[in-house]
Symmetry: C2
Subunit: 257 residues, 2 copies
Amino acid sequence: MKEKLTIIKVGGKIVEEESTLSQLLADFSAIEGYKLLVHGGGRSATRLASQLGIESKMVNGRRITDAETLKVVTMVYGGLVNKNIVAGLQAKGVNAIGLTGADMNVIRSVKRPVKDVDYGFVGDVEKVNAEFLATLIRQGIVPVMAPLTHDGKGSMLNTNADTIAGETAKALASLFDVTLVYCFEKKGVLRDENDDDSVIPVITPVEFKEFVAQGIIQGGMIPKLENSFSAIDAGVSQVVITLASAIHKEGGTVIKK
Amino acid sequence: MKEKLTIIKVGGKIVEEESTLSQLLADFSAIEGYKLLVHGGGRSATRLASQLGIESKMVNGRRITDAETLKVVTMVYGGLVNKNIVAGLQAKGVNAIGLTGADMNVIRSVKRPVKDVDYGFVGDVEKVNAEFLATLIRQGIVPVMAPLTHDGKGSMLNTNADTIAGETAKALASLFDVTLVYCFEKKGVLRDENDDDSVIPVITPVEFKEFVAQGIIQGGMIPKLENSFSAIDAGVSQVVITLASAIHKEGGTVIKK
């Protein structure tokens, strides 16, 4: 039987503020067994860019990453945010290691081809090196992954944190019994968006189609759930959408086959 | 017999400019066997601090590191400079991993006590975790170490790159046959500072005392050599002071017992 591995993805909002970060570190530390954290950091990147007089341009929620912006996100995601989390986890006795995709070549990407939009130095994941990650994890080391990859030709690439979490979960699914947890600003996927307690506890592919047809699930939640089912199809045991403060507890919405 | 390990320390100047970085990556890649790189990045930190309106204060060549400056050096050393080197080495087939002292707890420091000067968030190295580094190195992974450590209580600390190189070399000396190479702007320690070719090929402790007494070795070179002898005393096989462009060749000044 494969050993359990919990992969947590948290957005920038949670890791960029002292109080929410501190709570996250406590909650993440409380997770038993093998674990891995993927973080964002967009707000800090936007703030630093603005201080440096670099305009942040977003298209479909994705950052257009020119050469100067790539420097900003490399500094903020790979340096400031990542190392703050790592140092914070070390203080709690969690033997964390900060990684970008370039480190040990753990995630190689290809620069996104220009179609309607030129996203610049943005990477689409090509390969996750699961073996190296697994070797670290089995030594009791906890990878903390920044939303950055590399192209294998010497350039870093800005890469969506949800994608990094999903692709890493898929790649590790052959080696571990993987639970992928997407932290969300609500308790889970809601049946009624005005009722925070109307969490749908489990969604299967059949139910997902019904919820979409009925208009219960809509907007940005549709691609999030499609990604979740894609992870399940690739062997991830379960995907959970829940509050960051609930990552070490039961609850949230569980996406299952 | 212990296997050979070469530890190279390069200053910021070399890794912060495209052309010299590119040459360094080629030279470093050409080093055979186990290797480890320690880098600086002070010029980029000063530039970013200045762009953010943060004044860089130096005392005895060391940066006074207040909370805002700590953020700057964490971004620049741990993010920008470190990841550029790692991505560049990956492009050359060197399986590099970027590390600060917080990552895998490889270097824990203590915040420098305030005496005459309050250096702020500056760390004096307490412990290098040689075992974790050795495990990586023996897997063929090449650590690229930024001049940052952590205090074990959740804070990063700014730490001199020469010190990181020296302490890492000492800690690894029980596990490997370590050569420590300090890159220098001259071909080595010069007998005549006006003659770039007057390199002293070998210096022993007895010769060092004589050179100092004669005024041949003076100024900043004295602590550099004292540190080198301290590394030798702690089991490092040899320390070499040489040009960055000569790290994969013979030459420079060799400091020996």
